[in-house]
């Protein structure tokens, strides 16, 4: 669905994007490179890079990262360099995510970057049975209470929040988008929705919020707007029951009683039959629905993809 790229008066001239080689990073580069000068940082190569995008291939934790800030005036930074991989040793993802974030934010201070956008996730709240239907940004980040592996995600979010208060001279924006899906996305929700016969929890059918990867790229670009500062949930085109999503995609769900499902998934995960850790079951059992009205109001956000198109984008 081609549409005009996001642009506004005061668009920063040079924008660093960390984690640019990922699917979301590439979508963001496509969205931004016609409007501003994009400099990517990623330890992975960036194949099929648009010619006007610069790429610095380096690990975020290395001192050489500073090269990206030298010889040019950097106006803004978008930090996507967060890694999720349940198979990776926790110490490695933790160090990459937490140290990488603190390092890159320090460089922003040192080089006088005026705008910093950090990509977090609505998963920091965590699906919980006692959740209200629309969680505002002030909700405590309780996800690690049930799933300790997400604690680096929460730490990154918290670190960015303290950075926001410590540096009033920098416009820091923290975005917490709902479940990101899309044709190239390989995260847990998209992988789950791609299964031909996904497990579901018998008798549970929570509401879900999904957002298309290109809409997330547009939201990130919109967050560069001058004057915008703070923590924002980013919602897609609405809420829909899990069962309706699976029906729309023509899947054949296999319901498993809730007393058995976690044991089953744990066995399968340990036997490497699935990439889903058992704690992810919470997402198909309980609510984690957020209120996205603040970003809509303060940034003028609205998604481009309809609910149906967003759902269908995973197939």
């Amino acid at each position: 669905m081609p549409s005009a790229p996001i642009t506004f008066p005061g668009m920063p001239g040079t924008v660093i994007v960390t984690g640019i080689s990922g699917n979301l990073g590439r979508a963001l580069a496509k969205e931004l490179h016609t409007e501003t000068h994009v400099v990517g940082i990623d330890r992975r190569p960036f194949p099929e890079k648009p010619r006007d995008v610069d790429h610095v291939q380096v690990d975020l934790r290395k001192n050489r990262v500073e090269e990206a800030f030298r010889h040019r005036r950097v106006d803004a930074l978008i930090h996507l360099g967060i890694m999720h991989d349940p198979r990776m040793p926790f110490s490695e993802t933790h160090s990459f995510n937490v140290l990488g974030t603190s390092k890159i934010l320090d460089l922003c201070v040192r080089h006088g970057v005026r705008k910093v956008v950090v990509l977090s996730s609505a998963n920091v709240y965590g699906p919980r049975p006692e959740n209200s239907s629309f969680l505002p940004e002030e909700t405590p980040l309780m996800a690690a209470d049930r799933f300790s592996d997400v604690r680096d995600l929460i730490e990154v979010d918290m670190y960015a929040q303290s950075f926001l208060w410590r540096h009033p001279e920098i416009e820091t924006v923290i975005l917490r988008p709902v479940n990101i899906v899309g044709p190239t996305v390989r995260n847990a929700p998209s992988n789950y929705l791609r299964l031909e016969s996904p497990l579901t929890v018998l008798g549970f059918d929570p509401m879900l919020q999904l957002i298309h990867e290109e809409d997330v790229a547009r939201a990130l670009a919109l967050a560069l707007k001058p004057g915008l500062r703070g923590v924002f949930n980013v919602t897609g085109p609405g809420e829909v029951p899990l069962s309706a999503v699976l029906r729309e995609l023509g899947r054949h769900p296999v319901p498993v009683p809730h007393l058995l499902v976690r044991g089953l998934v744990r066995r399968a995960f340990e036997a490497r039959l699935t990439s889903f850790p058992p704690e992810e079951v919470d997402h198909i059992q309980y609510l984690c629905i957020v209120d996205g009205s603040r970003f809509a109001r303060e940034a003028g956000w609205s998604p481009k993809y309809t609910l149906r198109d967003t759902i269908r984008s995973v197939s």
Partner: protein, 284 residues
């Protein structure tokens, strides 16, 4: 229940229309909550599902509990409102009967949002059934949001303390918490008191098997004459009182609020007394 086939749903809807009597279908079609292309509102309420799902409850309403209704016109047809009722009967059939009354006996019908306990979303089938019928976890944020959207919410301030109280304490109201009143004052919503007579006798609790309740993480495990709290066919009397409009600030001390809570509790108690005086027999 989540995956009722369309044919089953259609048949259940027909049953609802038949039990509701002439004009029910036309009335229920006036029920048009916001819905997306998947038939639900943002909270998961699905009006079509609800019309089908209430059929068995409507059968209980008409044939089993044979509900005697008083004062349904006190429930406003539109605008925010908090309905406050006593709670009893081990299983929340009283909530179901109040909701069925507002759907079937009102023109246009009013879909109530009952606030459920925080552990209900952990129950299979029940959680889905509740959500599709418009019920919602009773957090203050949910209430505020619903009242701001001019919805009608149904509150049981006694909570499970009322629901699972032993039979010897029937029709004695447990103290009402001040939460509902704060919310009503905050959103300047009127309060409609509701009294339900008959639910106390549907499943008299002889005692509460607390160890088993703890084991199952239930709030209580009452043992009734039918062992499990399956309801007996007691006759229900559901009475709606005149709307109460209270003035004041939601930030008052609990002591200040208690006087206002007492006004509401008194109104519910009065309705109960009226219902008890009215009824000639527990079962008919």
């Amino acid at each position: 229940m989540a995956e009722l086939s369309d044919a089953v749903k259609e048949r259940l809807r027909e049953w609802t229309y038949a039990l509701g009597g002439p004009g029910t279908r036309a009335r229920l079609e006036k029920l048009t909550p916001p819905r997306n292309e998947y038939g639900v509102d943002p909270y998961g309420f699905d009006a079509e599902y609800a019309v089908a799902a209430i059929a068995p409850l409507l059968w209980l309403y008409r044939k089993y509990f044979r509900v005697q209704l008083t004062g349904i016109d006190h429930v406003p047809s539109e605008g925010r409102v908090v309905l406050v009722s006593n709670h009893s009967g081990q299983l929340p059939f009283d909530a179901a009967m109040i909701e069925v009354a507002c759907l079937i006996e009102k023109d246009p019908p009013r879909a109530l949002r009952a606030l459920v306990e925080r552990w209900v979303p952990t129950l299979p089938f029940v959680s889905t059934f509740m959500a599709r019928c418009g019920q919602i976890v009773g957090t203050p944020e949910n209430c505020r949001r619903l009242l701001a959207a001019d919805e009608a919410i149904l509150v049981f301030p006694e909570g499970v303390r009322g629901l699972n109280k032993p039979f010897r304490e029937r029709y004695r109201l447990r103290p009402f918490g001040p939460g509902f009143l704060r919310l009503a004052l905050e959103s300047s919503a009127p309060i409609v008191p509701v009294g339900v007579v008959g639910a106390e006798e549907q499943a008299p609790a002889l005692f509460d098997l607390k160890p088993l309740a703890r084991l199952l993480a239930f709030p209580a495990f009452p043992i009734t004459p039918t062992i499990l709290p399956f309801p007996l066919p007691s006759r229900y009397h559901v009475l709606f009182g005149e709307p109460i409009r209270l003035q004041g600030s939601p930030d008052e001390d609990d002591q200040e609020l208690e006087q206002k809570v007492a006004v509401v509790q008194g109104a519910v108690r009065e309705l109960l007394a009226r219902g008890l005086a009215e009824r000639e027999h527990v079962f008919w």
